[in-house]
Structure formats: C-alpha cells, structure tokens
Amino acid sequence: MPVSRRTFLGGGLAAAAVAVTGTPMLAGCASDKKSSAAANLAVKLPTYTKYGEIKPDLPGTDVVLDGFLKYPANPVKAITEAPGDGKPITFMTNIPGAIPPAADKNQFWQALNQRLGSDLQISMASNDEYKDKFATRVAGGDLPDIINIPTDTPQIPGLVKAKCMDLTEHLSGDAVKKYPFLANIPTQYWKGCVFNGAIYGVPVPRGMSRTSLALYRADLLAAKGIKDPAPKSFEEFFDLAKEMTAAKQNKWAWTRVPLSTIRQMLGVPNVWKEEGGKFTSMFEDEANLEALEAARKMVAAGVINPDAFGDKATARKQWFNGGIAAFDYDSFVAWNQYYNDNTAGDAFAVNMLDVPGFDGGEGKPWMGAALNNVTSFSKDSKHSAETLLKIANWMAAPFGTEEYLFRKYGVAGRHYTLQGTDPVPTKVGVVETGIGLQYISDSQLALYWAGKPDVPQKQHAIQEKVASRLVYDASYGLYSDTQSKKQTQLTKTMTDLEGQIVQGRKPVSDWTAAVQTWKSSGGDKIRGELQDAFAAAAGGK
C-alpha cells in the first residue's frame, strides 16, 4: 500500500491511526487530481453492444428514446439461469413513492426472490430522507452489498475507493459482454461511474428521460377551450398561465415557479457551459436577471400556487393530479408517474410544452442529468463481484423481455391484467412493485404506457421536436474536488436567493452580488478544476 504525502503531513497520530486501521489515505493535492483526470480517461469504458431483439414502433435516435405502442407479444425470457448465489443479498436505496409492504406481505417481492435465487433484502428510505440514511450508514460502516450512491454525494472518489469494489476487470472493454444487458447501456452513461481511474459502479441511466419541460393537464386546458397550446414567447406563456388561474376557486396555473423554463427561453446554460475550454456556470449568465424579473412577475400576478415555495415534491404532485394546478415543470419519468398516481379518472391527460424563445423563436431546453445514481458493491460483501453484476444485469433487461415485464409490472392476475398484450397495472401492482429495483440498474427508459398508446406517441413527438436543440451539461464526467465538497451548500445559497427574489422579498439586483460571493467562495475554484479536467481529457484524446 503506497503511503501518500498527506500521511506525513497529517502528523504522527494520523500515521499511527492509518497503520492501525490499514486505510489508505486519499490523494489530496492538485497534481494528484490532474493525474486522476488522466487516469479516468485512460479507463477503457464498457463496449456498447445494443441488444436488438425488439423493434420499436417509434424508433429513437442517440437522443430520442424508443417508443412502443403495445407490449410485444410472447416476451422473450432473456436470462435462463437465476443470477443469485442462494445467499441473501442486501441493498440500500431511496424510494420515490410510498414505502411498499415488507417482503413477507409483498407477493411481488417474494416472486422476485424466487426468480433471483437469492433473497433481496432492501433497506429503503423516502427520497427526502435518503441522504440522511446514506450518510449515517456510511459513517456507521454499515453498508449493504449493493449501494445506491446518489450523484451529488460528497467525495464519491474517496468513498468508493475506501468502501467499494473496483469493477474494472469485469466491465472494461469487451469484458462487459458477459453481462449483455449492462453492455446494452450506452457508453456515455458509464463515464459517470469512473473514479480514481477505475470503474466503481453500474450506471442507472436517465438522460433524455430526465429532460424536464412544462407538463400540462391537457384535459383541464381542453375544458377551457385550449387545445394543443404552443406559446411562442414568454408573454404568450404568461398569458396561458393567467388563463388557467382561478384563485377564487383555489386553482392556480403552476405548481411551482417555472424559473428553469424561463431560463431555457433565455438560453441560460445547463449547469456548466464549455466554450473553447472555458467554463461558465448557469448562475453567471447575465440573462438570469431577466429570468428572475420574469419569474417575479408571474408570482406577483398570482398564477403560481401560493404554497409553492415550500418545495415539497409530494404536494406539487398532489396539486397537479388533483387539478389544483394545470402546469408542472418535470420530466418524462414524472409524466409516467402522473399516470401511475392518477386519481382524476379516465379523462386525465398529460402533455408537454415545447420551450419557446423569450421574445419568440426557439428556446434551449436542457438535457436531463445522465445518471440517477451510481450503484456500487461493498468491498466487504460476501458475494462475488460476478454474482452482484449478474443481479445488476438482470435488472437492466430491456423493454420487451419477460424479465422487464415482471420487474416493472409483476405477476399477471395479481399485479396487472392483460389487455391484449398490454399489462395494465392493478392498484396492488402499483403498490407492491415499487420496491426500488430500478436503482440497482436499469435499461434506458422505453416510451410506453400500458393501454394508452397516445402517451408514448406524445412523448416521442416532443422528444423529436426538442432533440436537436438540447443543451448539455459540460461538466458531466469531469471531477472537481471542490464541487464535490461544496456544491450542495453553494447551490443552496443561490436557490435560497432565487426564492426570495421571485417572491419579491429581495431585489433582483441582489443576484449580481450573490454571484460574486458564489465565485469567491468556491465557484471559481470549481471552474478551474473543471477546466483542468477538461483540458486533461482533451489532451488525452
């Protein structure tokens, strides 16, 4: 085990502590970081081999997702042998919906264990609480075999180095072909799983499915005589919101301030923009002032639910589902989720608005974050990396396979009823299947809604419409130590201010000063590190 300089700088006691625990110290200085960027680049990413048995009805592209109008008849059972090794496997994850019934009362879970050949023991927390749980479990040294690591976890490289298996030899290059469904995940997603010059995890790919735009309740708009709305500028967008507001009846157009949509109208960067090797943060763009002014106007006009500033996702979803609000800013995943949670009956219909330019023309929508999370395997796990990868592979079986049908919909009869070839979920199905399997690994989302072919059609249409205009986050796959440590706090300060400005409690002019503070308290350092990492990556090509 190499002893780094930090060990000596840290003084005798630390050295003693290291000697006792045998834990390697983290590389912490600038030159190490550069070499780590180069080392990350040197990693041969898993070879992408498309699993091409199933032909989509609405073929996608590199960006646009495949769409299906019906579930393929006679789904293929793609994996013959059970992936488990007979011993229980533990997994820790967040759960987006309600916490499902425990394994002994959950027939889906029981059937799953049967199929996996190992009992999958899942420790769950709601989305809001997962960060706490994660931090505590790491600090307690109590990690499960399979770990869902959110992408904004501080210090991921140090964490995975100390606690997780290096999977490079199993996944790099052609080695991944042993796991055909992991190989079916496009290469770009694996970029986010590389740390310290090694592959430390399996991606849970999102990207396009996470791209967020303005969702609207087509049925509510139709009731007001508005069909296929397509605002051409901010003014029209604003007018539409005014039209859908009836505060006296407790109805507001928006579930939250559509600040992101307005920013996209103005061409504000998606997190980080790169131009000639220079990075610019979304916060720095001058257009933010205009965006904040516009958002402030919307709040003042009362078109946004007055309780929107608590920012509770659950409340937001209830308002949209309950018809208290007609617009919400969210993704394709959320679009599906809305149909899942639908309480409004058959008339319920959701669609998505394209984003126009602020004064006309076309807006610049943001490509969704590439990964939901990285899934790593604990070093202390009693299972072999092969077993755990086989489990992940099983979880990534794509749309059209029998595994996918079971994984997402459960058992016919109990969890869904077949309408033709479409598995229409029952209430029990929705509740019991939500055990977070999608966070072990996942195939790319396929656009499909059982029994409602118009849903994937609409989704596919809007994706095709925006695909060429998507703006990408230039920092994806580049590691900045400062970003990893300070990102949460820095961003929070800015969103706090955004909230106060749009509510009219602070002047828009405060923004400029806050950006200066943001720069000096870490923003500039992050920029520098990202530029270095980018240069190292560019130089390595």
Binding site: D307, D496, L497
Partner: protein, 314 residues
C-alpha cells in the same frame, strides 16, 4: 437524593461495607447508569472529529488530524456561521421572553378556575398539542394560515387581500415562536400547577383577612411559592437555550430561505450530514454544547448567590 445528616457517626463504614449495605439500591441504579454511559458518554467521544478532517468512509481512526482548522469558521467569523448564530440568538431571546413565561400565566389562569370539571377539561385540551409531532403541527398551521389555507381562502372568496404568514421571511421568527407556544404551553403548566397546589391555602386566607386584594395575594403568596420551580426551570432552559428547535425549522426552511431560518442546529445538519463537512459541523456543535454548560453553571452560581437552591447545591 438522600440527605445525609451533617454530623456523621464516629466510625466511618468502609467502602466495601457501604456497597454491601446499598447493594439493592445500586442494583436499581445500574441499568440507568449503563444507559447513560452507553448512549450519552460514549458517543461524546465522537466529538473528537471536531479536530479531524473526518471522512465517514475512512472512519474516525482513519481520518487525518486537522488541529483547530475546523474551528476557523467560528474564530474567523464565517458569514454562514454568523448568520446561524444571529438567528439562534434572536430565537433564544424570543423564546426566553415569550415562551418561558407563557405556562406560568396559563397555570395561574387554570388555578383560578373554580369549577374542577372545567379545569380538567381545559387541561386535557391544552395538553393535547404536545403529543403531536412537528410534522403535524407544521401541516396544521399550513392548512390554517398558508397561502391556500383556510384563512386566505376565506379572504379570497370575500374579495379581500390575502396575507402571507407561512413562508414570509419577515414573520418567520414570530411564527416559530407562536407554534412553540401553541404546542407546548399547556404541557409545561403541569409543573407549575403542581407547585401551585403545594401552596398552603391558609396563607391565602390569612392574606385576605389582612385585606390583601387578589393581585396582592398573587404577588405575596403565589409568586414566592413558585419562585423555586421557576428558577430551576429557567436554569435548565438556559442549558439548551441555543437549541431553538431543529425539526420544526428544517420542515419550514425551504420557503423562507436560510437567511432567517438557519440556526446552529440546522447549520450542523446542513453542513455535516448533508454537505459532508462533518468536522466543521462537529466543531460548531461542540462549541454550542460548551456554551450551554457554561450558561447552566453561571446561572446556577447566580441562583446560589440569591439564596436559591438551583439545579444542584454546593
């Protein structure tokens, strides 16, 4: 606590004899002591991370020592820390002035009720909010006073202008204080009511024979009877005066922003558990704890000077 007579018997019992004599009592004390040691004193050792560049994945032993570096946010006056300190002190003063006396007044009020029946009913109703968790209380306030809550809906439907109470950063400190009063005042009356019942009713009779009005009786009979318990509770309150409510604040932090809502406890949580700066968070938490201890010791000293017993004697 058993009070030993000052003059001890001449022959001192040996330690062994005393242990043997008190063995049953000691046995009773054992589980409690073990719990306190295991769950209060042992975890205190974890405070050592205030002096380390602690990384949870390396463990306490594996993390680097960093000396006083983590305390820099305090000594150099980091703006985020100062903001948390300022809000904490504002809330501490608000709570000392408004929350602390509230149960005393309520207890006096309850005590003056003649009908035992009404008193019991009133007490039950007043105790109830204490048993609700903060999530429920916050949701209740939201439903009543929120932007689309009962009050504002009423105002809107009668074409009156609405008032922003929840989510209004200017009113946030007042809102927090009101919520605490609503939730805990009733429950806190219990100790004062007990103390009130201890006051000899003959004293009141004697006072009224001497022509003392109700107000004078309150001042000369009731208040002296309550003084001991008030001082005791005030000292205890000082000990965690910098603890101004964590769950309650974190639940409502989003809407008003951290400028008015960040207090020391949320600072520790946001930086440590969420932000990953465990060392800094521990340092701030440690200083907060030390300040609490100093306040209790000082207040106790003052109580002794004024001839009160305080939390402990000697």
């Amino acid at each position: 606590m058993l009070q030993r007579p000052k003059t001890r018997p001449q022959q001192q019992l040996s330690l062994g004899r005393r242990l043997l004599r008190d063995r049953v009592l000691l046995l009773f004390a054992l589980p409690g002591t073990a719990l306190i040691v295991a769950f209060h004193y042992v975890p205190l050792l974890g405070n050592v991370i205030a002096f380390k560049d602690y990384q949870p994945f390396l463990g306490i032993g594996g993390s680097d020592w960093s000396g006083w570096e983590n305390f820099n946010v305090i000594f150099n006056g980091d703006p985020a820390f100062l903001r948390a300190l300022k809000n904490t002190l504002i809330l501490t003063s608000l709570q000392s002035i408004f929350v602390f006396p509230a149960p005393i007044l309520l207890a006096l009020l309850l005590n003056s009720l003649f009908s035992e029946r009404i008193k019991r009913i009133a007490q039950s109703i007043l105790y109830l909010p204490h048993f609700m968790s903060w999530v429920i209380v916050v949701a209740l306030f939201q439903q009543m006073l929120g932007g689309s809550g009962l009050l504002n809906n009423y105002l809107r439907s009668h074409d009156l202008s609405t008032i922003t109470i929840i989510g209004n950063s200017e009113l946030f400190h007042v809102l927090l204080t009101s919520q605490i009063i609503w939730k805990d005042t009733g429950w806190a009356t219990i100790l004062f009511l007990a103390a009130l019942s201890q006051i000899d009713s003959q004293l009141y009779e004697a006072a009224s024979v001497d022509g003392a009005s109700r107000m004078r009786q309150l001042w000369h009979v009731t208040m002296p009877g309550l003084r001991g318990i008030i001082i005791l509770l005030f000292i205890l309150r000082l000990g965690d005066s910098l603890t101004v409510g964590f769950e309650q604040i974190i639940l409502q932090q989003q809407a008003v922003g951290r400028d008015v809502s960040e207090v020391l406890d949320t600072y520790v949580y946001n930086n440590g558990v969420i932000g990953g700066a465990w060392g800094v968070a521990a340092a701030v938490g440690l200083v907060k704890g030390i300040v609490g201890v100093v306040l209790v010791l000082a207040a106790n000293k003052v109580a002794h000077i004024f001839g009160e017993q305080g939390v402990y004697s000697r």
